[in-house]
């Protein structure tokens, strides 16, 4: 697609955004009940779908088909128009779809991809109380009984599990095999008997996560993804597959709503009539953040390009995740510092927003949701050192 065509595409997205991004959605989503949040998310998803923008990264035959260059433009414009984010459907349209497209059967794809377009919600059942950073040591078991697997164990940190229809589940099918070799990947119907959910309230006061107790939950063998005992490879290949574009979206958000909110905050008169923007220290910090965001956005575009060309670097995903999450933490921390006591009076942040909603103190607290999940910053640094730079692994502990 030529530059002129891309220009037309951008103009089309801009027109669509002007017509469809709901006015005042932030105010409406501040203090929204769970029901209001879900119905807002589902309605916004259907609007995007009608516009052809809900699942741009999917293959055309399943309802997507935008080129990487078009996706970049789409996310840039959604960010520039401060559109709500697809928070609720994130796992569904990214991880679930990537898994089904990469390793699912035709029947699984036909069942779930159209359903996801209709609003089917997915959660992830990977982490366990004793398997966080060391995910491969997970203990939940799936015992084969004829055409069925019987699952027992406990999962944790499952985002939106309480409202999810389906779950991407990792469970051990060969307890005798070495850690990574005895794990299988399942699609679990959340209506199955034997699933008990307990919400976990997080540091921000919100309830996004759940603990999941699995007591003899039966999963038909047809819901296995990939080969039995090959679940680790399936999970590895799909976990980072989508990271380039999803990180690009977040980087664009940081560069638009995030930076402009921070600039506004810096311009607001302080308590002592001082004008923070003229404070050289504040201006210096702001210029620093602007620079880092520009670098991050360019790096995300580069990672997407390299991924498209099949030249993805082994540490690309970790580099952007680590840099984004720590930049977010520093930036929201700066915002909270600058906004001072006033920021601490904001007890709720708007749902459906990005990670820098403008409720700086809460955003700062929430930033650990980026430096911990999805591989902590420490794990990312080890990956970058080992896969990106070829440094030796730590010797395994033998006991």
């Amino acid at each position: 697609m030529g530059t002129a065509d891309l220009g037309q595409f951008r103009a089309g997205v801009q027109r669509w955004c002007s017509a469809h991004v709901p006015a005042h959605w932030r105010a409406a989503q501040t203090g929204a009940s769970q029901e209001e949040f879900i119905s807002f998310q589902q309605a916004w998803f259907q609007q995007l779908r009608a516009g052809g923008y809900a699942v741009p990264h999917w293959p055309a035959e399943w309802g997507g088909g935008l080129s990487a260059a078009e996706q970049v433009i789409l996310y840039q414009e959604l960010a520039a128009h401060d559109a709500p984010r697809l928070v609720l459907g994130f796992v569904s349209i990214h991880h679930a779809a990537a898994t089904l497209l990469a390793a699912g059967t035709d029947a699984q794809r036909r069942q779930h991809l159209p359903a996801i377009l209709d609003g089917e919600i997915w959660c992830q059942g990977f982490s366990e109380p004793e398997a966080g950073s060391d995910l491969a040591s997970l203990r939940t078991t799936a015992r084969r009984e004829g055409d069925t697997f019987v699952v027992n164990g406990q999962k944790i940190w499952s985002t939106w599990a309480l409202v999810a229809d389906w779950c991407l589940l990792l469970a051990r099918t060969d307890p005798a095999a070495p850690k990574r070799h005895g794990i299988s990947y399942f699609l679990m119907d959340m209506r199955s008997p034997g699933i008990e959910l307990r919400p976990i309230r997080q540091a921000t006061g919100e309830w996004h996560f759940c603990e999941m107790f699995l007591d003899n939950v039966e999963i038909p063998a047809a819901h296995l993804v990939g080969d039995e005992n090959a679940g680790w490879q399936v999970a590895q290949s799909t976990l980072s597959a989508e990271r380039g574009m999803t990180m690009l979206e977040l980087a664009e958000r940081l560069g638009h709503a995030g930076l402009s909110r921070l600039q506004r905050l810096c311009r607001q008169a302080g308590h002592d009539e001082a004008h923070p923007a003229v404070d050289p220290l504040v201006a210096d910090q702001l210029a620093s953040f602007e620079t880092e965001i520009a670098g991050l956005r360019a790096l995300c575009r580069r990672v997407v390009e390299r991924h498209e060309d099949g030249r993805a670097g082994p540490a690309d995903a970790s580099i952007v995740k680590l840099f984004y999450s720590e930049l977010l933490q520093r930036m929201t921390g700066f915002g909270a510092d600058l906004a001072g006591l006033q920021a601490l009076t904001e007890l709720e942040k708007p749902a459906s927003s990005s990670w820098e909603s403008g409720a700086w103190a809460l955003d700062f607290v929430g930033s650990w949701e980026w430096t911990i999940p999805g591989g902590t910053s420490e794990i990312q640094r080890s990956i970058i050192g080992e896969r990106g730079l070829g440094l030796p692994r730590e010797p395994a502990v033998t006991s």
Binding site: P280, L286, T291, G295, L299, E386, G390
Partner: protein, 356 residues
């Protein structure tokens, strides 16, 4: 950026790295001329190859990688860059042709400190008195002035119009300024009521003030490229050392404290590279955002180079602190680069001016 152009640049990078790795830390100027690197940007009419600043940026990065002693910054980034930005008056093309064949070295006595980022760039003034044109002023830390045959002096006329006066270096007072970084040649250039009536006075094409500003931005970005290159050399050296050096019965690179520090270096340099390449493309295309992009690249890449070279010294341990080791050479070059053509803080100040 088209894939073809990227490919051409990567090919140039490969050739440059290969050639420079054999050439030693003070590569022969004629070698660079024969490789065609002195005329990358110049028009074919004067013997150049008509490429752009993005190719010059590649050479600067590779020169930084070997911490080269070379007048490339003075004579090509600034000298040839200034000549190309002037109205094509008589004498200009001949001098430019000589510069890109390596026969003549030309330095530009531009302001090099923080004042060069947001304030005046012309350290000299030119005035008519008693029928003679007289030039006076002084510029400090001028790259490669001592080796130059000609110095281009940016000067303000009595009516505050920026002009450029080419002067044979023998007619000026040029005092070398030794600095801790032993790989750069800087000098103070002074003109003390010099009679320049006989020589030409050249005018920057278009808006003269903007042309000088672009020249300073070229220099700032070239220094950022240099810092990017030297940082990568130090990251490579540190990773090599951490894989091979054994303590407590295992390579030190297997310890998280060391590994994570190396990871942080790579992350910072990944961001720095994006900023530098974006700014080089913006400068080459002459976009209106180029100045801001240069300030981002200069401030970030030069700060990152300080972190990386400092960490390289730390992770090399005692051996890295010795005079024999090259780490201090790189650390000092990074320190010089940080200050030359505007400190990170000065460049962030320029960015902040846009916030209003």
């Amino acid at each position: 950026m088209s894939a073809d152009l990227t490919e051409v640049r990567e090919e140039l990078r490969g050739v440059a790295r290969d050639l420079l790795s054999k050439a030693g830390a003070a590569p022969d100027w004629q070698l660079l001329a024969d490789a065609g690197w002195l005329g990358l940007e110049a028009d074919a009419a004067v013997g150049g190859s008509g490429a752009s600043f993005t190719e010059v940026a590649v050479i600067m990065e590779e020169l930084g990688r070997i911490a080269a002693v070379s007048p490339y910054l003075g004579s090509i980034v600034l000298g040839a860059g200034a000549l190309a930005a002037l109205d094509p008056l008589p004498g200009r093309d001949e001098l430019l042709a000589d510069v890109i064949t390596g026969r003549q070295i030309v330095a530009v006595a531009l302001a090099t400190g923080d004042e060069a980022v947001t304030e005046d760039l012309s350290p000299f003034s030119i005035e008519a008195s008693a029928g003679r044109l007289r030039l006076r002023g002084s510029a400090a830390f001028v790259p490669d002035a001592a080796a130059a045959d000609w110095i281009l002096l940016p000067a303000l006329t009595a009516s505050a119009e920026p002009v450029v006066v080419p002067v044979r270096s023998a007619r000026l007072t040029i005092e070398p300024q030794p600095v801790l970084d032993g790989t750069r040649r800087l000098a103070r250039v002074t003109a003390d009521d010099l009679d320049v009536s006989a020589g030409p006075t050249w005018h920057p094409a278009g808006d003269p003030a903007a042309a000088l500003r672009r020249l300073a931005d070229r220099a700032a970005l070239a220094v950022a490229c240099d810092s990017l290159g030297l940082s990568h050399a130090m990251l490579d050296a540190t990773v090599r050392y951490a894989r091979q050096r054994q303590q407590f019965g295992r390579p030190i690179g297997s310890f998280q404290a060391v590994k994570h520090a190396c990871a942080d270096m790579l992350v910072r340099l990944s961001i720095a590279r994006e900023l530098v390449e974006a700014a080089a493309a913006a400068l080459a295309q002459g976009t209106s955002a180029a100045a801001a992009e240069v300030s981002m690249a200069k401030s970030y890449a030069c700060s990152a180079a300080m972190d990386v070279t400092g960490k390289a010294m730390q992770l090399h341990g005692g051996i890295g602190y010795t005079w024999e080791s090259v780490v201090h050479v790189y650390l000092k070059r990074a320190m010089l680069n940080r200050s030359l053509f505007g400190s990170p803080a000065a460049h962030r100040r320029r960015l902040a001016l846009r916030y209003g």
